[in-house]
C-alpha cells in the first residue's frame, strides 16, 4: 500500500543523503520526495511517498527514527490529511485551441504564469488525481515541457466536539 510519511529532520548538510541512502540501501522504494525548511530554520521537513506492506512500512518508520538527524516521523496515511502537489506545464496549442486551453485552466483553477506567441505556461496545484486529470486533458494540445513537485502533505486539525 501507498504511504505518505512526513519526516522532521535537522537542517544540516548530508541529511537528505542519509534519508535517501537509507531507502536505497535497504531496498525501499521512494515514489516522491520533497524537502523544505520549516518556520524554524534549523529544522526541515520531508514528505516521502513510498509503497510497501505493513511490515515494510513499519521498518521504514523505525529505520527513519533511528537516524540521529531525524527528529520525528509521522505516517500521515494513518490520519486524515491534506495532500498537494504542483505542476508547471508548457503547452503549445494551435491557434484555434488556445481558447480551450485557457478555459480548461480556469476550470481547474490554474493560472497562466508565462506566455509567448506560441506557448502558455500553466501552473496548477491540487491533489494527485486532479493534476493527473489536467495533464491528460492537456496532452492533445502538445505538452512541450512539464515539471512536477513532489507531494507535500499536512494532517488535518481535529475538530473538538
Amino acid at each position: 500500500m501507498r504511504h505518505t510519511i512526513s519526516v522532521l529532520v535537522e537542517n544540516k548538510f548530508g541529511v537528505l543523503s542519509r534519508v535517501a541512502g537509507l531507502f536505497s540501501g535497504r531496498g525501499y522504494n521512494i515514489e516522491s520526495l520533497s524537502v523544505g525548511e520549516t518556520i524554524d530554520p534549523n529544522i526541515s521537513i520531508m514528505t516521502i511517498v513510498t509503497t510497501g506492506d505493513d511490515q515494510i512500512i513499519e521498518q521504514i518508520t523505525k529505520q527513519l527514527n533511528k537516524l540521529i538527524d531525524v527528529i520525528k516521523v509521522v505516517d500521515l496515511t494513518e490520519v486524515d490529511h491534506v495532500e498537494r502537489e504542483m505542476v508547471l506545464i508548457k503547452v503549445a496549442p494551435k491557434q484555434e485551441d488556445k481558447a480551450e486551453v485557457l478555459r480548461l485552466t480556469e476550470i481547474f483553477r490554474g493560472r497562466v504564469v508565462d506566455s509567448s506567441p506560441r506557448t502558455y505556461t500553466v501552473e496548477i496545484t491540487g491533489d494527485e488525481k486532479k493534476i493527473d486529470a489536467f495533464v491528460e486533458l492537456m496532452k492533445p494540445f502538445g505538452i512541450k515541457e512539464f515539471v512536477r513537485t513532489g507531494k507535500i502533505a499536512i494532517a488535518r486539525e481535529g475538530i473538538k466536539k
Binding site: V9, E10, F13, G14, S17, R18, G21, L22, G25, Q55, E58, Q59, K62, Q63, N65, K66, L67, I68, D69, V70, I71
Partner: protein
Amino acid sequence: MRMTGAEIVIECLKREGVKHIFGYPGGVVLNIFDLLYDDKDLKLILTRHEQGAVHAADGYARSSGKPGVALVTSGPGATNTVTGIATAYMDSIPIVVFSGQVPTMLIGNDAFQEADIVGITRPCTKHNFLVKDVKDLARIIREAFYIATSGRPGPVLIDLPKDVTSDKTTFRWPEHISIRGYNPKYEGNKWMIKQAAHVIQKAKRAVIIAGGGVIHSEASKELKELAEFTQIPVIMTLMGLGAFPGTHKLALGMPGMHGSYYANMAIQQSDLLIAVGIRFDDRVTGRIKDFAPHAKIIHIDIDPSSIRKNVRVDIPIVGDAKRVLKGLLQVLKEEPEKNQWDAVRKAWLKQIEQWKKERPLTYEFDENVIKPQYVVEKLYELTKGNAIISTEVGQNQMWAAQFFKFNKPRTLLTSGGLGTMGYGFPAAMGAQVAHPNKVVIDIAGDGSIQMNIQELATCVTYKLPVKVAILNNQYLGMVRQWQELFYKERYSYSHLDTVPDFVKVAEAYGAVGLRATRPSEVEPVIKEALKVKDLPVFMDFIVDWKEKVFPMVPAGAAIDEMIFGEEEKEKKKEKKLRAVK
C-alpha cells in the same frame, strides 16, 4: 582557554577516559600526531594497516566494554577503515574513528588523498560527522562518544579537515548533551513485561535465546538469575556466547546453521521463545517460515527496528536487556503462587537431555592427523577456559564457537554479522592492549590469518603476547565445505596453493613460531606458547583438510533439517561402492 583543534581532540579524548588509540599517521593528521609525540597519558599503538587499527579498537571495545578509538589519515587511510567500521556496525560495537581530511577549502576539489569518507561510511556507521568549524569540535567529539556507547552501540566516525586541527578557539567542554533526534529507550514497557511474565508462567517448553545485546548491556547476572529461577534452558547466538556460562547445565550452546542439534531442536519444538538482545539473523533462523513454528515469541531488544524485522513477535519489549530482565524477575517473584512450573519444566529438560545424548557435538579423534576440533578442545583445556578468544571467519570460527566453552561475557571476539576474514588477529591485539595480563588467543585459519598478518610487527613492537592458533588445512575450508556438499566437489579457487611457512614468517617478524603436525604435538606446542609472555606466538597446526563443520543446516533449509557428519560419511561410502560395482 584558547586551544587548537588538535589540542581539543587530545583534551576531549582524555576527558572521555581514553587511554589507548590505534592509528596510523599521514599528512593531514600530523597536527594531532605531533601532540601525541610527548603525551604521557595517551598511548598510540601504531598498527601496520588502518584496517588493523579499527579491528584492534573493536577488539579493545568488545573485551573491555569501553569504546575503542582509531586515528587515521585522509584518503586511503580513511578508506582502509571501512571494513573495520562495517564489522563493528554489524555487531553493534562502540568505536570512534577519527579520520583526517584535506583542508575545508580543498574539499570537493579531488585534492591529494581526498576521499568523501563521510559519504562512504554513511551506511555503515551509527552516525558520522564532518567537522567544518573548530568551534563545533568539542561538542561533536562528546556527541560521538555518547552516540557510540548509548542505546544500541555502534561505530561513529569524525572527519577532521586539516585546517580545523590548526584553527584556534576557546575550549568549552559541554557538560550536558542532548540530541533531540536521539533518545534511546532503556526502560521496558511495564504492561508488556507483565504479559511476558504471564506467558513464561504458563509455558511448557520454553527456551531463552540470548544474543550480543545481553553482553552489551552487562545483563549476564540477570540472565542467569532468570534462567535458574524459571528453569528455562539458554541458547546463545554466536554474538551471545559467554553471556551465560557455557558449562552450565541449562546451557544449550549455539543455534542455527552450525548450531547444536539440541539447540535447534529445542527452538523448533518450543512453545515459548524468549529472545533477548538478538536480531534473528538468517544464520540463526534458517528458513524463516518454518522457524519455531509452535512458539510464542517474546522479543526484548533496545533497537525497535530489530523487532518484527525478520520474525513475527507476540510480545515486543523495547528496552535495555538488563533492566527488562530485572523487571521480569521482579514480576515473577511477586507471584509465587503462579510459578507452578516444576513438573512441566522437568519433562522439557528431560527431552532436551535426550537430544543431547542422541547427537552431542562431536568429532572423530585420529591418532595420526590433527583434527581442528581437537586443537580447540586442547586450547580450552590448557587455559582452563581462562582466556579471551578471538576468531577469524569460516570453519575456524565455527569450531571455536562449538568446542570452546565460554563461561564469561566478553571472552569471545568474533565478526558475527559481517563475517570479516582478517578480523581475529588485530582484534586479539586490541584485547591484549586492554588486558595486558590475560591470555589472548586468535583461533585462525591459514586463509584468514594472511589477511592481516602484518600486525605481527605491531605485536612484536609493543610486546603483545597474542597467541595465534592457525588451523592450517591449506584450504579456504568453509568455501571448500560448501563446494564439497553443494557444488559436486568442484573446488573452484578454494585451495591455497601457496601457504607460507608460518613458523618462518613469525620468526622473520621477531615473533615465536611453533608447529604441530601430529596430534601428540598439539599439547606441547600450546603449553610452550602459553609460556611466552612478551612476544606474539604463531602456532601452526597442520590439520586434517577433509574435516567439515557439523551439524550443518544448508542455506534455505529449516533449522531442524540438519546434516550430520556420520551420515555424510555413510553417503560417501555408498557412492564409492556403487562406483566400484
